[in-house]
């Protein structure tokens, strides 16, 4: 059986932003080298409620975006996302980096040959 090629030195950047900022965040991350993203839709309340018409609390819709990035790229991508999401403004959202012990995915043939692992 072939062996699994584990990717190490990777991290997950998770960013919680308003839905309107999602595309800007994805584009900014892609422009600095992020190769993929996962987007979850989240609905609910934050620390404060915003009252709409009739004084009824408005449920905010946020997107939770996760990027699996290499450790050496994480600072660059983190900063790009921070700027694109305008997280320096109040109420825009927040983000964090969490360490990943190992990851696995499809590794193209050329790279496998280069690593001398599981050549087809």
């Amino acid at each position: 059986m072939s062996e699994i090629i584990y990717l190490t030195d990777v991290a997950v950047i998770t960013c919680i932003v308003d839905k309107e900022r999602t595309d800007a965040v994805l584009l900014a991350a892609r422009d600095v080298g992020a190769r993929g993203a996962i987007v979850h839709t989240a609905q609910g309340w934050g620390a404060r409620e915003r009252l709409g018409v009739w004084g009824v609390a408005v449920e905010t819709e946020k997107d939770v975006i996760a990027f699996l990035v290499s450790s050496d790229q994480q600072e660059l991508i983190f900063e790009a996302i921070y700027q694109a999401a305008e997280l320096n403004a109040p109420g825009r959202g927040f983000m964090f980096i969490s360490p990943v012990e190992r990851a696995a995915a499809y590794v193209p043939e050329a790279l496998r040959k280069q690593l001398h692992v599981n050549p087809e």
Partner: protein, 132 residues
């Protein structure tokens, strides 16, 4: 005695474990993996949810400054003990064929504590309808 103090004691009772997250295509693989995990390894601290994914190696031509269309993908999350992590990771990897193109990505993270989880005893079997 404060509730905060009780909670602190309680959380230290639960051992550290591993969280394994996989992002798989929306073709029923998630369900198959979950059934396999329960059947072969007895893993029930697991589930799947839906999200949008923009593929790492997806061939998509887009205009400059535009994003490719995202795909509907399934996130499978599994929590297991530290000593089970290797075999669970491998089982999911081979079962979901993550080594093939377009089959998603998976990763493992450390969790400082996790409560146990058990299923109620009177749930009928999905296929036979029998009560276990």
């Amino acid at each position: 005695m404060s509730n905060a103090h009780d909670s602190a004691n309680l959380s230290s009772d639960f051992p550290a474990c591993k969280a394994i997250y996989c992002f798989l295509p929306d073709d029923g693989t998630d369900r198959r993996v979950l059934v396999e995990l329960r059947g072969k390894k007895g893993i029930v601290r697991a589930g799947s949810s839906t999200c949008r994914g923009i593929g790492v190696l997806a061939e998509a031509k887009t205009k400059r400054g535009k994003l490719p269309e995202s795909d509907l993908v399934k996130q499978v999350y599994v929590f297991c003990t530290e000593d089970q992590a290797d075999e669970i990771f491998e089982l999911i990897f081979w079962s979901a064929k993550v080594d093939k193109p377009g089959r998603g990505v998976m990763w493992q993270q450390s969790v400082t504590g996790c409560t146990p989880y058990g299923l109620p005893a009177d749930i009928p079997d999905e296929d036979t309808g029998d009560h276990s």
